[in-house]
């Protein structure tokens, strides 16, 4: 159900009733479609998109470029899955181009992320090199603009 996924990607807090109203389906149709999407892991989870500048807890986020030597059997998969399982890793993607994995890591402070890179990441067999880039400011996150205050005035009645 593409339309349902669309809806949830924009706003996962809608009630079953609201989703049924928007999509012209019954509530039980929505419930079973949603259960199926969760069961087959099409939907991996739900979370709030937060502007880190607006919360008191200050953490750091880093994007790490990782170069790997692929294995004879399985290529990058085993290494990538191993890296992805660390709690600190929020996202992990195989990339084309100049390096192999993009790893997004979150930690309480710079030192914590540095320790993760030196102790955990770079010591994994197959990791050839890493380059760590710390995030400075969020302008847009998961499709939402931070600090978007644009308004436009429409006339109340138009032809």
């Amino acid at each position: 159900m593409e339309a349902l996924i669309d809806l949830l990607q924009k706003n996962a807090r809608l009630s079953t009733r609201e989703m049924s109203e928007r999509l012209g389906k019954t509530e039980s149709e929505i419930e079973s479609a949603l259960a199926a999407l969760i069961a087959d892991r099409t939907i991996l989870g739900f979370h709030a998109v937060v502007d880190p500048d607006r919360v008191e807890k200050t953490g750091v986020s880093a994007l790490i470029e990782v170069k790997l030597t692929p294995e004879r059997e399985g290529g990058f998969d085993r290494f990538a899955q191993r890296i992805a399982k660390f709690d600190q890793v929020t996202s992990c993607y195989l990339m084309s181009g100049g390096y192999d994995l993009t790893v997004i890591v979150e930690g309480d402070d710079l030192r914590e992320v540095a320790r993760f890179v030196s102790d955990k990441l770079s010591t994994i067999d197959g990791v050839v090199s890493t380059a760590t880039h710390f995030q400075l400011k969020v302008y847009k996150q998961s499709g939402f603009l931070a600090a978007d205050s644009s308004t436009s005035e429409r006339l109340p009645v138009t032809p």
Partner: protein
């Protein structure tokens, strides 16, 4: 000195004040009004389109363009029209870029009508049709479509309206204010009539991208342009623009596609009155046509969701309302409450702070209905519907 009001041309003096304008003045100045009275998208034009306009300004593109419009835009229009409407036009001679469809309609009327020529059109309709015809010294002949037919236009009614003086048949599907679409079988009969009686067909298809089909209305319905039917291309002026589907109302950009004799005649007026459409709008329009399909579909789906909400809620309230196949309007039938469309709209505004447009603003065939536009944010729409429910609940118990 002769009083100034006596200096106004008769043709202008005789054009009645717009019913929309009257209502606008009532709504303005009230706080906390949720307006379903608009006729434009609530979305801003997609950013990539706005960015193209900004970029064109940064590059210093602030000149006049060809009277017909930028050739590169006309080429994009020809491609788009071929894909969407299945009709081919020559970009060099058969496309005229105008300042909105409103200008294009005015140009058609002025280019084609001699005093006394009749223009047949269907009501309820967009508010400018009748005045545009009258100001071009034509005679406006309206056909009343009916709520019982879901406001489809019946070929038999068209035939009954044809006289020796009939020159233009003006169509608008999907229709503002009803959201009605025309079934193909009836459209074919109307096309046959146009051929038989040698009428020029002017077809305003500004809402043609905003079509809803499938069980839940989420799929994009297929639009058939009358221009694509056999024998029609050579007698049809196809009017379209960017306002509705691309949410570009303020860019004021439309176009007319027609045989070159007609576009040439329209261009004669356009070149002296308007010269050309603004170049930054034209640059934005090129971007819209080249890369706008995805954003447009996103907006269409958002409208489809709101349409579903409106249909469900009106049904629950017991307000009869047909499921419109296009545009972003509902046209519920409020006759059972024993109020005129004016009274209903006024009381809804005064008692619940919700603005809808009385149906009679769109011609007398609209009496008994109101236009509720769902191009309004979903949460606002929900509140508006709650208020309407409270209002009609009171009407029903009284």
């Amino acid at each position: 000195m002769i009083p100034l009001q006596n200096r106004i041309a008769d043709v202008v003096k005789n054009v009645p004040r717009s019913g929309i304008r009257d209502f606008f003045e009532l709504v303005q100045g009230r706080d906390d009004v949720i307006s379903l009275g608009v006729g434009e998208p609530d979305f801003s034009a997609p950013w990539h389109i706005r960015e193209a306009a900004i970029y064109s300004l940064e590059k210093g593109q602030t000149s006049y363009t060809s009277n017909l419009g930028l050739m590169s835009l006309r080429e994009c229009i020809v491609d788009y029209v071929r894909d969407q409407f299945a009709v081919s036009y020559d970009a060099a001679t058969e496309v005229l870029v105008t300042v909105g469809v409103s200008e294009a309609l005015d140009l058609v009327c002025r280019a084609l009508l001699n005093p006394g020529d009749e223009v047949i059109y269907h009501e309820p309709c967009y508010v400018s049709y009748n005045p545009s015809i009258a100001m071009a010294h034509g005679v406006a002949v309206s056909i009343q479509t009916r709520v019982e037919d879901d406001f489809e236009l019946k070929a038999a009614d068209v035939e009954a309206a044809i006289t020796e003086k009939s020159k233009i048949l003006l169509l608008n599907f999907p229709t503002n204010p009803t959201g009605a679409v025309e079934p193909l079988s009836e459209l074919e009969k109307i096309a046959d009539l146009a051929v038989k009686h040698d009428l020029i067909v002017v077809t305003d298809e500004i809402y043609s991208e905003l079509m809803y089909s499938g069980e839940s209305g989420m799929e994009r319905g297929k639009h058939v342009s009358i221009a694509s039917l056999p024998g029609m291309r050579e007698r049809t002026v196809l009017l379209h623009g960017f306002s509705k589907a691309f949410a570009m109302t303020g860019f004021r950009l439309g176009y007319a596609c027609a045989p070159s004799v007609l576009t040439e005649a329209m261009m004669k007026i356009h070149q002296y009155s308007m010269l050309c459409a603004p170049i930054m709008s034209q640059m934005a329009a090129i971007e819209a046509l080249k890369n706008g399909a995805n954003e447009m579909e996103k907006m269409r789906r958002a409208y489809a969701q709101r349409r579903n909400l409106m249909l469900k809620r009106f049904a629950e309230m017991g307000v009869p309302c047909f499921a419109p196949g296009g545009a972003f309007y509902m046209f519920p039938d409020i006759r059972k409450f024993g109020l005129t469309s004016q009274e209903f709209s006024l009381r809804l505004l005064e008692e619940e702070n919700v603005a809808v447009v009385p149906g009679n603003a769109f011609g007398k065939a609209g009496e008994g209905c109101v236009r509720a536009c769902y191009a309004t944010a979903y949460d606002q729409l929900e509140i508006a519907l709650d208020r309407i429910e409270a209002f009609v609940g009171r009407l029903q118990t009284n």
